[in-house]
């Protein structure tokens, strides 16, 4: 179905080798591919999907809206993320996921996921790992949100997104494409646009990053990590038996 390597396979294969059989099972699990435009919902709070969505291209946000339209983005998703694998077991979505940019989405029926869990124990563990990493990212974000300065929090997010994109082959050297607006970054970090602009300015002035349009270049990885108190353990990037 997909000619170029499915980014989910790249993502999982980095953590533990998948067999050809397992890769085929993941490829064949995709029944259709659809394009979702920026700012459209991929799944909505309250939905009871019969399929899970795998992000092939683009950026998406997991979010909740509180009264008066205030939005908190609780996760950012990049290619290779199995956005609502949760809905396979949770059934009813307790939050929505919307596209921040044009997204290409692959659909995997829950019936197929059930078959995978019946027939492929190692692949099942790898999908379990994927949701565990999502959980680890939430823990890290919660800590950053509560206890890091605005500048450190932004530096932490940039370090994480860079590594996540690099894992699936979407970094060019020290540069990633980050087509996310300041307002969306604000909803992610719990900051006003004013603060987002100030901290980006500070990171630029310190010579840590450079923005050219949507292209974000990391100029000093070691110092950026230090500012963001970033260690990559929670992303479980090592290849080992799982």
């Amino acid at each position: 179905m997909t000619r170029m390597t499915n980014p989910l396979i790249l993502k999982l294969d980095q953590r533990d080798r998948l067999s050809d059989d397992e890769k085929r099972a993941l490829e064949n699990a995709i029944t259709r591919i659809r394009v979702v435009e920026a700012d459209e919902d991929i799944v909505r709070e309250g939905d009871r999907p019969a399929e899970s969505c795998l992000l092939l291209d683009g950026f998406a946000a997991r979010y909740k809206i509180v009264s008066n339209g205030r939005r908190q983005i609780s996760a950012l998703h990049v290619a290779g993320d199995f956005i609502d694998l949760h809905s396979f077991l949770l059934k009813t979505m307790d939050h929505g996921v919307s596209a921040l940019t044009t997204c290409r989405i692959a659909h995997v029926p829950h019936a197929t996921l059930e078959k995978i869990t019946d027939e492929y124990p190692h692949l099942t563990r790898m999908l379990w790992l994927d949701t565990l990493i999502d959980g680890a990212i939430h823990r890290e974000w919660l800590t950053a949100m509560g206890r890091l300065s605005a500048t450190a929090h932004m530096a932490h997010l940039i370090c994480e997104l860079y590594l996540r994109l690099k894992t699936i082959g979407r970094a060019e050297g020290d540069t990633i494409q980050l087509p996310i607006t300041q307002a969306e970054l604000g909803d992610t970090l719990g900051l006003s646009t004013v603060h987002v602009n100030r901290v980006l300015q500070e990171l630029r002035k310190e010579g840590l990053i450079r923005f050219q349009g949507d292209a974000l270049t990391i100029l000093d990885w070691e110092r950026l990590k230090k500012v963001g108190e970033f260690t990559s353990t929670y992303l479980s990037l090592q290849n080992e038996d799982r």
């Binding site: 006003s192 646009t193 004013v194 987002v196 100030r198 901290v199």
Partner: protein
Amino acid sequence: MTRDITLLPMPVLADGGRHEGQLILADGQLVAVFTWVTPEETVGGQERAGGWFLEAGFGPCSTLLSVTPPVLATLDEAVNWVQARLDNGLAQP
């Protein structure tokens, strides 16, 4: 409800350095701090480009309760915003 609103000019060392600022007091109590921000500081948001920005707020003026901390054109608008917040109390964001 009539309140005694007082403005007190005060420079603020916010992220990005010194900003012109105004403390807003209601009946002698500090309820909000507004700073003057440039259009560069508001780029990419839904806020007005440049103006008086709610840097910090207390009680009903808390920045957490605001869709996005507002950027207002004039200090009069900032005072009106504070008044409306105090009138609505915690009931309405």
